[in-house]
């Protein structure tokens, strides 16, 4: 098969505006630098009306790292399945959260909420956790210490790689990709 042109890589730094989100298209490759937040199942169950961080313009990454080795910033930190967090996502987007990151599909309610509140969903390759840890420069537990690996973290990242899987206009790379590469 002929080599195809690689898509352009864009840089992104939160806090993000609606304008920046509108410019993202399913299939875009991104490198994220700055502050991002980490939370998964148990933390989401505790959020209640507001998460323990300012969601306005923020990026939320669904993950929970392995324990940190001596002399390192963080353990391996790949994504967990976003689908399980679907019930919590529309409320967070309403509060101004601009990007969620994880692996796997999102349901129709999340897709609709992303259109309504101008947000995007990014995929991070699952199982690339060791390499991803190299992009984390600082890690701080900001809430729910007692949840251990499921505590809420604030990370300082540099050039953290991600792919736009679903954009705010209904663009869905899962559907587009399968259509393009599937053979009947």
């Amino acid at each position: 098969m002929a080599k195809k042109k690689r898509s352009k890589i864009q840089k992104l730094k939160p806090p993000l505006t609606d304008k920046e989100i509108k410019a993202l298209k399913a299939g875009d490759r991104l490198l994220i630098s700055g502050k991002i937040f980490i939370a998964r199942d148990a933390a989401h169950q505790r959020f209640g009306k507001r998460p323990p961080f300012d969601p306005a313009g923020a990026i939320l990454y669904y993950a929970s790292p392995t324990p940190t080795q001596r002399g390192k910033v963080i353990g391996s930190i790949g994504p967990t399945t976003a689908t399980r967090l679907d019930p919590f996502t529309p409320d967070l987007l309403k509060l101004g959260l601009k990007i969620t990151m994880g692996k796997g599909k999102r349901g129709p309610e999340v897709k609709a909420a992303m259109k309504e509140y101008k947000a995007a969903y990014l995929v991070v390759p699952g199982g690339a956790a060791a390499a991803l840890s190299k992009h984390v420069k600082k890690s701080t537990v900001i809430a729910y210490h007692d949840l251990g690996p499921e505590a809420v973290l604030e990370l300082e990242v540099t050039d953290f790689p991600a792919i736009v899987a679903m954009d705010c206009k209904g663009g869905d790379l899962f559907e587009q990709g399968k259509k393009k590469y599937g053979i009947k």
Partner: protein, 280 residues
């Protein structure tokens, strides 16, 4: 009678847990490289490249390949001329898992009660499968398997009168349902025959066969290749973002079964396939 001290088993299991989680086997790396050379999707290629790099970083820095360091599934073949002293087999295996997960900085993912869900804090208990075999050695294999892919597995009791195409459809359908959530490219273990409980074990054992090595029976080896092709025609691709690499491997294991039965189990495994074995 050969005597083996339990301490030896503890150390072996500990090392296998750490080794499996940080050192992606050569056969899987080779399968990823082969997939990269064939993948038509630029995003698919980028993901495959990241996975290959990840394996190198994990090995170099002794970091877990994936943050889900899995449930420890331990396959033991114990020679009937072996006597374990200064401890018991099951306790030694669990102690080995506990030490491996602590000393290896691996994430503890086991909860004590499936509904109350309190973490056991040391990733025990392991799931243990024991076979008594001739000889005076113990062979231990440790498969540390992530939860996401395991959740996408399935079993169906077919009729012996079902055409083979129905089994094909069931396998492909299971992969379709798993979609992006199982972290494709995946490995597919298929167990055919036995009973309702035995077919899934066959499917899991099928995953232990190295990537690239087909079934010893020619027709079954052909079936593995056909199924791999069908799965890769779905277009799901790496991480479900589209592409020709949805599965790296399809392995089938079979066993005799009852005249009225045809159980088929499909065990899904992510590309971070972590299996190591040792002989004592």
């Amino acid at each position: 009678m050969r005597e083996i001290v339990a301490k030896k088993i503890i150390g072996t299991v500990k090392n296998l847990c750490i080794e499996a989680n940080t050192n992606l086997s050569e056969d899987v790396v080779e399968a990823l490289n082969k997939a990269l050379s064939k993948e038509g999707s630029p995003i698919g290629r980028e993901i495959l490249r990241q996975l290959i790099t990840n394996a190198k970083v994990a090995w170099r820095d002794k970091l877990p390949l994936c943050q889900d360091t899995g449930i420890a599934i331990v396959f033991v073949e114990i020679g009937q001329d072996v006597r374990i002293i200064e401890g018991t087999l099951e306790e030694a295996i669990n102690e080995g898992v506990s030490r491996g997960y602590h000393e290896g900085f691996l994430r503890k993912s086991m909860v004590a009660d499936p509904l109350k869900r309190k973490n056991t804090e040391d990733n025990t208990p392991a799931i243990i499968h024991v076979r008594i075999v001739p000889g005076e050695n113990i062979k231990i294999g440790v498969l540390t398997k992530g939860g996401g892919a395991e959740n996408c597995s399935a079993i169906r009791m077919f009729s012996p009168n079902s055409p083979k195409e129905e089994i094909d459809d069931f396998v492909v359908d299971t992969v379709e349902k798993a979609g992006p959530n199982a972290c494709p490219p995946i490995l597919v273990g298929i167990g055919i025959g036995g009973t309702f409980d035995y077919a899934p074990l066959l499917a899991k054992k099928a995953l232990l066969r190295p990537a690239g090595r087909h079934h010893s029976e020619k027709d079954t080896a052909e079936w593995e290749k056909e199924l791999l092709e069908k799965i890769n025609k779905t277009g799901i691709g790496p991480m479900g973002l589209g592409g020709r690499t949805t599965a790296l491997v399809v392995n089938i294991e079979k066993y005799p079964c009852h005249i009225s039965s045809l159980p088929v189990a499909v065990n899904i495994e992510c590309h971070a396939h972590r299996y190591k074995e040792a002989l004592i």
